[in-house]
């Protein structure tokens, strides 16, 4: 730590940190404004904003489309696209990103490891396996619409619960638990592959789901994910003090009065439920949970009371940005959102690994 005056909290001087905070805020607002403009169907920006300002509901005339001369029918279709596809997708990206960010920060705290992440713990591959299992039963497309999230959710719970059970019985180190997740991840991946052998036709559907996306978002999905976000996030954000104390080790935290077993139970369970719910509707999205807390820590320091809620905010912004990139990188094609997140997250993960080594081993 070179600068003592700046305090230990974050890198750089307060001015730098404030600057960074403004950049993030400005970027977030810009993202919110730009996202509805993007999509495979080109709609003029005036129309999009006019439609947004009108609010949801039936579009009466062409004049609703912001002075662009189109037919009333065309305007109605645009209205549908904006309000039934683009806005729900945006809400889903924001809420799922927030859940992933919150969960990532929380898990990094619980496992006292900066590399923890719902993805790494096997939650995502569990969900993917659940989804693939569905295709073993050859369900129809209509049923799949409802059952896929359910199966993905249940599949995602499995590794979370196993890791949790491993942590409960006996005193296992955070490293062991983290590696348990990594091993489970590999096991579920191979199960996934074998399920797909039963139904090669399902593999296309699953593989697209595997890389994630917001294209299928509906207001119903949004309602569920936002509901989960609010209930899970409220508790996670309140347990910041306990997470801070867990960093001193379980025994010390206990001696200071923290019911570590219960806190760990609640945190792992909530992140599992939250992530499984998000992933069920978006598909597997890696690295949001890993990257967001690190960005936040650089700005506000190590206090989990701030890191967890702000990681939710940054996670939301990160996934929205990735979604925008996924929609606009190649014209008229929507990429799976897992591609941009992994493009950013993968190198960042490597950077963390090697920086950690340079600093002399794990942060303990």
């Amino acid at each position: 730590m070179a600068s003592v005056a700046a305090g230990p909290a974050a890198a750089g001087t307060p001015a730098v940190r404030r600057g960074l905070a403004y950049w993030l805020l400005g970027g977030g607002i810009l993202l919110l404004a730009v996202t509805p403009l993007l999509g495979p169907v080109p709609i003029p920006w005036e129309s999009v904003f006019a439609l947004l300002l009108r609010g949801p509901g039936t579009v009466g005339s062409a004049s609703s489309c912001g002075g662009v001369s189109v037919s009333a029918a065309q305007c109605r279709i645009w209205g549908e696209i904006v309000w039934q596809t683009r806005v729900p997708a945006m809400v889903l990206a924001l809420s799922a990103g927030a859940i992933l960010g919150l969960s990532g920060a929380t898990l990094q705290g619980v496992f006292r490891n900066p590399l923890a992440d719902p993805y790494l713990l096997g939650l995502s591959s569990g969900a993917a396996m659940g989804a693939a299992l569905l295709f073993v039963f050859n369900v129809g497309v209509a049923e799949a619409d409802i059952l896929l999230p359910v199966f993905a959710f249940l599949g995602g719970l499995i590794p979370g619960l196993i890791v949790f059970a491993a942590g409960r019985s006996g005193r296992r180190s955070p490293e062991t638990l983290l590696l348990t997740g990594v091993a489970l991840s590999a096991i579920f991946a191979s199960l996934l592959a074998s399920f797909l052998l039963y139904n090669p036709l399902g593999s296309l559907q699953v593989s697209f789901w595997l890389l994630g996306g917001m294209s299928d978002a509906t207001w119903t999905h949004d309602a569920i994910v936002v509901g989960v976000l609010i209930s899970v996030g409220a508790v996670l954000a309140l347990l910041g003090r306990e997470l801070n104390l867990l960093q001193l080790g379980e025994d010390v935290a206990q001696s200071v009065g923290v019911p570590t077993q219960q806190v760990t139970l609640v945190l792992v369970l909530l992140t599992t439920v939250g992530t499984a719910a998000a992933v069920a509707f978006t598909g597997v999205i890696g690295f949001v949970g890993l990257v967001s807390p690190h960005i936040v820590r650089r700005v506000v320091g190590p206090d989990y009371g701030k890191v967890v809620p702000l990681s939710g905010l940054v996670g939301a912004a990160f996934l929205l940005l990735a979604w925008d990139v996924a929609q606009s990188a190649i014209p008229s094609i929507v990429l799976p959102v897992g591609i941009p997140t992994s493009f950013v997250g993968g190198p960042f993960f490597l950077y963390l690994l090697y920086r950690r080594d340079r600093l002399g081993g794990p942060r303990r």
Partner: protein, 432 residues
């Protein structure tokens, strides 16, 4: 029993079993309010196990722990944290949090769940920081501290719990001497002013003796000694528990005992020939101490004279339980003491003259050694310079004795010469 008569901490009959091995066997410890108890013992004696068993961090197979008369296991974690605070031996470094935040961690049990830290907690943390000498550094991060400072800060976190009982597990490990004393002195002062009870595992007996009101010594998971530092620090205990030979001294300023440990000599066990042989050592000023120790270890019956009270030789003699002719400090040898000295010489099979400094006051020590004594050894120490402060008289006396005695260089040579006694030569193997 009134509340204030109850022990602040009562750990009764604690036993901890790890599969086959018993890490702690029926250890009990009571500490009064305001008392400082040191838990001493070599590595692996069960100190840390005891501390962790008291806290309930490891399962006990027997025993109860009461704090202020209340069974610890009946309390929830928050109430426990208010009753007893713990400073572990090792602790994860954790994140680079500001010092103030870190000390405030100790306030967890004092502020309601989910509530942001109260102003009162922050004030307590601030006060403790300044008491520990961190004033004005509240915002710096713990990673910026040195090892000693970090230990002090950890103490701050423990003090912030404001528990009536503190369990400190090797609070001074990893600290150099200055920091050790400083830290323990701070604990002492804070504890005295607040009537806190402290149980501290300290493997360094000297530190324990300076710091504690009472020492409990553990060995192989059992209590082997307990009492005031001056009563507990006995060379026999040191030998049995730590496997070291130690010189017991008294700190001139504090009057507290302290030890100078050394590994037992690797010499052969006493030969039967040595047993029963009586050796008198003429000494003073500490010159006889190593000889006395070596002879006692080798199984000789040893006497010493004539030495001033409180000098190293007489202290060593007292500690080894050796008969000695002693004189008041700085006084010339009186006729009575000289008579006693001559008697000891006469009764001895062997006389050893240590390389002690000779002045007018103790010149008589040499004069009282008769030239005709059958077996005499003069131990010299090469390169020690003159030890004649009697204006040539000492040199003269030594010359007289040298004519009848065997002159040797150093203690090992003396031991070799003694073991090659005429009696040992009669069929006693030397290399046993």
């Amino acid at each position: 029993m009134r509340a204030d008569e109850r022990p602040a901490l009562a750990a009764t009959d604690l036993t901890v079993q790890y599969r086959e091995t018993t890490a702690l066997a029926h250890v009990s410890l009571e500490a009064r309010k305001g008392e400082i108890v040191a838990l001493a013992g070599p590595n692996g004696s069960g100190k840390t196990t005891f501390v962790r068993a008291v806290l309930g961090l490891i399962p006990r197979s027997s025993g109860t722990v009461e704090v202020g008369g209340v069974r610890l296991e009946t309390l929830d974690l928050v109430a426990r944290a208010r009753a007893i605070a713990w400073m572990p031996q090792e602790e994860a470094l954790g994140d680079n949090v500001p010092l103030l935040e870190y000390v405030q961690y100790g306030r967890y049990a004092h502020s309601p769940r989910f509530a942001p830290e109260r102003a009162a907690d922050r004030a307590t943390a601030r006060r403790i920081l300044s008491e520990l000498g961190f004033g004005g550094r509240e915002r710096s991060g713990i990673h910026e501290l040195s090892g000693g400072e970090r230990q002090r800060l950890r103490l701050g976190r423990v003090l912030a719990q404001e528990a009536p009982v503190l369990l400190l597990d090797e609070p001074t490990s990893h600290l150099d001497m200055g920091y050790q004393l400083e830290l323990l002195e701070r604990v002492r002062r804070l504890v005295r002013s607040q009537g806190t009870t402290v149980v501290a595992a300290i493997h360094d007996l000297n530190l324990a003796a300076r710091f504690a009101d009472r020492i409990v010594v553990l060995h192989h998971g059992r209590t082997v000694a307990e009492g005031a530092p001056s009563a507990v620090l006995a060379p026999a205990l040191l030998r049995d528990v730590w496997g070291v030979v130690a010189d017991l001294r008294r700190d001139v300023r504090t009057g507290l005992p302290y030890l100078i440990p050394s590994l037992p000599t690797m010499a052969a066990p006493p030969s039967p020939a040595a047993r029963g042989l009586r050796v008198h050592v003429v000494g003073g000023g500490g010159a006889a101490a190593p000889i006395l120790r070596a002879l006692v270890e080798d199984g000789y019956r040893v006497t010493v004279g004539a030495v001033p009270l409180f000098d190293t030789d007489s202290q060593t003699a007292e500690e080894l339980g050796i008969a000695a002719a002693t004189e008041l400090p700085f006084a010339p040898l009186s006729p009575e003491v000289r008579a006693r000295h001559r008697q000891l010489i006469a009764e001895a099979d062997i006389v050893v003259v240590a390389p002690f400094p000779v002045g007018p006051g103790n010149l008589a020590n040499l004069e009282d050694v008769p030239s005709e004594h059958p077996r005499m050894y003069l131990v010299e120490s090469a390169g020690a310079g003159t030890r004649d402060f009697a204006g040539g008289a000492a040199t003269r006396e030594l010359g007289r004795l040298r004519a009848h005695a065997t002159a040797l260089d150093g203690v090992p040579a003396l031991l070799r010469a003694l073991s090659a006694t005429p009696r040992a030569a009669h069929g006693e193997p030397n290399d046993r």
